[in-house]
Symmetry: C2
Subunit: 376 residues, 2 copies
DNA sequence: GGTGTTCGTGTAACCGTTTACACGCTCGAA
DNA sequence: TTCGAGCGTGTAAACGGTTACACGAACACC
């Protein structure tokens, strides 16, 4: 492969001049530039980006560390990151399948010298000291952090508000005994949603009961399995808030098997608004979560940190959730509720002052954006 | 940030020794190694991967160039790549949204010096000479290439066989007038599927009719819009093969609006087996496509090329498709067909000899694998 | 006591760029 | 004519590592 030296030799100039031509420096004569370009074409020269970033200490790349890539949530997050990164002409270096913070740090280590900044989703409630290793080294933004995380940027989703809103919706429909299928213990998203559920009940004067909080693990299977337990509760609840859509789907198919009519005999709601929530029969009432926006916003809040020589103040952004009311809750004809009002919770990050969080996009992206070559 | 020199100074050794310790060279005394490690920890030293790859000309990274990231097809491809790459301890540098080959080459250029090899999906029937620029420079494997592509590795999906099998299935159910909604003109996947459709008809003694080939563009909307045209055909077809699932979904909802019973009055089939095909009502009969396997296999066939000093022979792998028979074709209770037998077509790549293509995974991954934190 | 090995280590060249600095030339003003 | 400014260019020192080679010490062998 040709290097800058080969080009310089062929063009009869010094390597400095070649470099200047490729960096659009104004201080090059037209004649030299022409000769350099001709030589470069002739030799099929492509500058070595790796070498370049060694001297400039700018890589124009950002790292993305995710616990997993499965399912459309992560795929939308990446798409959001990719889109925003592309606008900034940044490459993205992806690494996933991090079971714990240790693996996360190992992956971040391997990116040293290859990235200007990092977007990460911490898989567990990991040790702060390990996280600090990363924070010290890169400009970083954490997505959906488990804990408060002062001293670094965060972007997260309004789990608490979304859960609270959908449960309040059920209350508004007249339900007085509402169960939930909760996510895995220790999972922060699951716990925030659970809190939202409980507070919505309390606000309606209904006391949360442990018996009504069935244990799931975010899988479809666990939703399916909770059905039997649900149907044996005395008195039987008339509505269920599943902490994510996959569990709601499992529950729906179990209810169908059991011959229970949804929504008449049992109202079901989920969380996430995955793409096929709308295609279910009955269509699933759920909380729309803007995964694309999460990735996009993470990138946008990272970029100024990457460029700044001096660290700026941290931002903590919370993306609002939106109710997507469909037929599984028995209120299909009700108008869709607007964006859910943000509440402050001491354990959740506070939105940055003076900068309104992103408006959530429509809960029906499928019908609005052409899906392009998605099916190829 | 501490460099190797800082560590050397603090440990009282030369930089060569530090380097040896970090590369597990055996020729280092226990005492020196201990001092170096202590110094490294003390200074919080992380080796600069970028600088390292400049001297070694190995980056342990591979580039991934995709036309898009939308939808689960691409997300599964990336997941497959990521998974295989992780096993090989390779990082992945992703770039997407390439509308044409020119943009593809630009993106590849920007990766020069950062990757050891490249996995690419060519967005158009792009100029061979531009593609050649890439092939000359990197070990590369193309996914789902539009044309035959000698001289480089390819992995693709059995579009022709899949389409042919699903149409033959319809023929087997007794349909004698089968329409199709084709994908965009010029799209190679669409055209291979169209050929499969036509050949299946011919093989059954039915002549393909242009009137029966409705024009879609792989979007749900286009499937919806084709419904009117379909219902006005004289005589009306009794079955439709939509060239992807999104169009089949659009058609299904239009048929429901029109009060046409599926599958009794109209059998509908799709292609791709997107995750919610099974959740539709009626559940969609379709062709399962192994996007995860496509990415995984692409990575596996690239790796030896990246490591080899001498170029090995090219491989051309075709992943089999599988029929996923559900109720939308009126044969819900029939046992699922097995993998579709591969046919050779002169315009499709030939599977590598002696190396069986991957077995397709079950068409029901959702029910088999826990979806983990997909809903978070 | 010479000689050859082995081992641990250091020196310095190199990977492919960028860029501070210096240099020589031209040209206009004093 | 002299001087300074401006311009185009080249030289050389980085950037942060790896590694070929050399070297000195310790040791075994004859």
């Amino acid at each position: 492969m040709a290097t800058i030296r080969d080009v310089a030799r062929l063009a009869g100039v010094s390597i400095a001049t070649v470099s200047r031509v490729f960096n659009n420096s104004p201080r090059v004569s037209e004649e030299s530039a022409r000769r350099v370009r001709a030589a470069a074409t002739r030799l099929d020269y492509w500058p070595n980006t790796g070498a370049r970033s060694l001297t400039t200490s700018r890589t124009h790349a950002l790292g993305v560390l995710l616990p997993d890539l499965f399912g459309e949530f992560f795929s939308e997050v990446i798409r959001g990151i990719d889109h925003a990164a592309r606008e900034e002409k940044l490459q993205i270096l992806v690494s996933s399948s991090h079971a714990d913070t240790g693996e996360l740090v190992t992956a971040a280590r391997a990116m040293r010298g290859r990235i200007d900044g990092l977007i990460a989703m911490v898989p567990d409630n990991g040790a702060g000291s390990e996280i600090q290793q990363i924070v010290r080294r890169f400009p970083v933004v954490f997505m959906n952090p488990r804990t408060k995380m002062n001293g670094c940027n965060t972007v997260s989703i309004a789990n608490y508000d979304g859960a609270r809103a959908v449960v309040e919706h059920l209350v508004g429909l007249g339900h007085t005994r509402i169960a939930t299928i909760r996510g895995p213990k220790g999972n922060a998203d699951a716990e925030q949603r659970l809190r939202g559920y409980r507070d919505a009940l309390r606000a309606a004067g209904q006391m949360p009961e442990p018996k009504l909080e069935l244990q799931g693990d975010f899988t479809e299977r666990s939703g399916f399995q909770c059905c039997a337990e649900l149907l044996h509760l005395e008195p039987r609840p008339s509505a269920v808030f599943a902490a994510n859509d996959y569990m709601a789907i499992g529950l729906l198919s179990a209810l169908r098997d059991a011959g229970i009519d949804v929504p008449k005999a049992m109202a079901v709601t989920g969380f996430d608004d995955i793409a096929f929530a709308r295609y279910l029969d009955p269509a699933l009432t759920t909380v729309h979560v803007d995964a694309y926006g999460l990735g996009e916003q993470a990138t946008r809040s990272l970029v100024p940190f990457m460029r700044a020589s001096r660290p700026s103040r941290c931002t903590h952004i919370v993306l609002p959730a939106t109710l997507a009311v469909r037929s599984s809750c028995g209120a299909a004809d009700a108008p869709q509720a607007g964006p859910i009002r943000r509440r402050r919770r001491e354990t959740e990050p506070v939105p940055v002052k003076g900068k309104a969080p992103l408006r959530v996009r429509s809960p029906s992206p499928t019908m609005r954006r052409p899906r392009g070559k998605a099916g190829v």
